[in-house]
């Protein structure tokens, strides 16, 4: 199992949700975060001076899936979240050793 952690633009969340649903991935957890990447956010001009707004609002989408479905999820997210401009975000893949469904106690792939 892997956890796919995608940091995306907030305005793309609806699209990401939709596309994932179409690809039969329904489960997810989302968190409001702030972030910056290499470009250090967005640079504004103010009287000839530059001023950088780092830490822009982002959405973190977390999805735990079986190993073999990781690729599909990643591709789906990439398609839905991409605008082609700086700030589109990143996807990280993190190992998950175990998953348990609280309601039933089921564990492993059955639980995700």
């Amino acid at each position: 199992m892997k956890k796919i952690e995608a940091i995306i633009r907030p305005e793309r969340l609806d699209q990401v949700k939709e596309e994932l649903e179409r690809a039969a991935f329904k489960s997810m957890t989302i968190t409001e975060v702030k972030g910056r990447g290499e470009q250090k956010g967005i640079t504004l001009q103010f009287r000839g001076q530059r001023m950088t707004v780092d830490l822009l609002p982002k959405i973190k989408v977390e999805i735990v899936v079986e190993d073999e479905r990781v690729d599909t999820v990643v591709k789906t997210i990439m398609k839905a979240a991409r605008t082609g401009r700086i700030g589109d975000g990143k996807i990280f893949i993190i190992p998950v050793e175990h998953a348990i469904r609280i309601r039933t106690g089921e564990s492993g792939n059955h639980a995700i």
Partner: protein, 400 residues
């Protein structure tokens, strides 16, 4: 006439009430925008208020209420409130109270049309625009109707500003939104209101302040003011219920719809408040709720990003109210009668006055906005819009 302390007392209170409507607009709008633009939109209301407060004393009162020039505008006799005595023979209150009461009307009108630049307007350009707009568009319109201009002479009725305040701000907001263009992302993804309780708090202040707006326009603490107070309230309530139930037919009834309906009812009763009876006010309110709701749907269909619906609510509501005054005016209230009581002429005059205000406001704003846009750009840069106006225009974040 002699000063009447009761009338003066009411006008002082009414002025305070109307003043509070401007931050009311700010909060109403503030709840509807995204979190990154809330400081900007509330500040625009305050800044509009501050700018007009100074302009009115220096220039605006004279242009609006100074001795008439060709029915179009006042002259400069009252510049800086020169020659404005503390008492005026036409009024039962000190003239400065009247100046100040009218100031609050001019101020809120500019605040309402910030809807058209919401979430994308440059602060500095809006300041320039605002001063010119109030001078070249509001002041003449106020003069036409209340300052002895052509519209007044024609016999048009506008008790508290259906044309001057609402048609003018609503259609100007539309023009402005066309010149400045849609918000980036409009139509692509949802732009949900970021704080609906804030909008409802704004509604509370608006409804409250509107009592001063309409009942204060009687310029006295008398029966007319009492009638205005009651019909204002009923129209607001009916507008709220009208929009609520109409929207319920399509989807769950939203509180923002209810709030918009209340404002629509308040707008529509504004020109009529001193001429119609309570039953008429219910009809005016309900129709306002339904009509403005349709106007909003129409705007969305057309992909127009007049973002906070000043046009749908103030523009269309004001239009309806002005015409409704010509329909429902009941001579038992204030001596004027409308179409319903067989007076076609009043109706026609209302249509002409409302139409003229609409055309003037829309066209003149279009021209003014375009000129300013060419010279100093009305709109912020793309990346400034993306990070939000709070940071890019004010260097602040609303919530920490």
């Amino acid at each position: 006439m002699n000063l009447n302390s009761g009338d003066t007392a009411w006008m002082l209170s009414a002025t305070a009430l109307v003043m509070l409507m401007t931050p009311g607009v700010g909060l109403f709008y503030g709840g509807l925008v995204r979190k990154k633009n809330v400081i900007s939109i509330i500040s625009l209301s305050f800044i509009a208020y501050a700018l007009v407060s100074v302009q009115w004393v220096l220039l605006g009162y004279s242009l609006s209420f100074g001795p008439d020039i060709m029915g179009f505008i006042g002259n400069l006799n009252y510049l800086g409130l020169r020659e404005v005595g503390l008492e005026n023979s036409d009024l039962t209150m000190p003239e400065l109270a009247f100046v100040m009461f009218q100031l609050t009307f001019a101020a809120i009108t500019l605040a309402i049309l910030t809807s058209g630049v919401a979430e994308r307007g440059r602060l500095s350009s809006f300041i320039i625009f605002g001063v010119l707009w109030t001078t070249f568009i509001y002041d003449p319109l106020a003069h036409w109707v209340w300052g002895g201009g052509w519209s007044a002479r024609l016999g048009a009725l506008d008790f508290a500003g259906g044309t001057v305040v609402h048609i003018s701000s609503g259609f100007s907001a539309l023009a402005l939104s066309i010149v400045i263009g849609r918000r980036s992302g409009f139509g692509e993804y949802d732009m949900e209101p970021h704080n609906i309780p804030m909008t409802l708090a704004g509604l509370a202040l608006l409804w409250f302040g509107w009592f001063g707006f309409n009942a204060g326009s009687a310029l006295a603490a008398n029966s007319l003011a009492s009638n205005a107070l009651l019909v204002t309230n009923t129209a607001a309530a009916s507008g709220a219920l009208g929009w609520l139930f109409a929207s319920w037919l399509r989807a769950k009834p939203s509180s923002t719809g209810m709030a918009s309906g209340a404002v629509a009812g308040l707008v529509a009763i504004t020109p009529a408040a001193g001429y119609v009876d309570p039953i008429a006010s219910i009809i005016i309110g309900v129709v306002a709720g339904l009509l403005c709701y349709r106007a909003m749907l129409f705007r969305l269909q057309r992909g127009l990003d007049e973002s906070l619906d000043a046009w749908a609510i103030h523009g269309i509501g004001g239009l309806w109210g002005s015409i409704a005054t010509g329909i429902f005016a009941n001579s038992s209230v204030n001596g004027y009668s409308g179409l319903l009581y067989g007076n076609l002429e009043q109706f026609s005059v209302q249509v002409i006055a409302a139409g003229a205000a609409m055309i003037y406001a829309f066209t003149a704003t279009l021209v003014l906005a375009k000129i300013i846009d060419v010279i100093v750009k009305l709109r912020v840069r793309e990346e400034e819009e993306y990070v939000g106006l709070d940071i890019s225009q004010h260097g602040e974040e609303a919530y920490a």
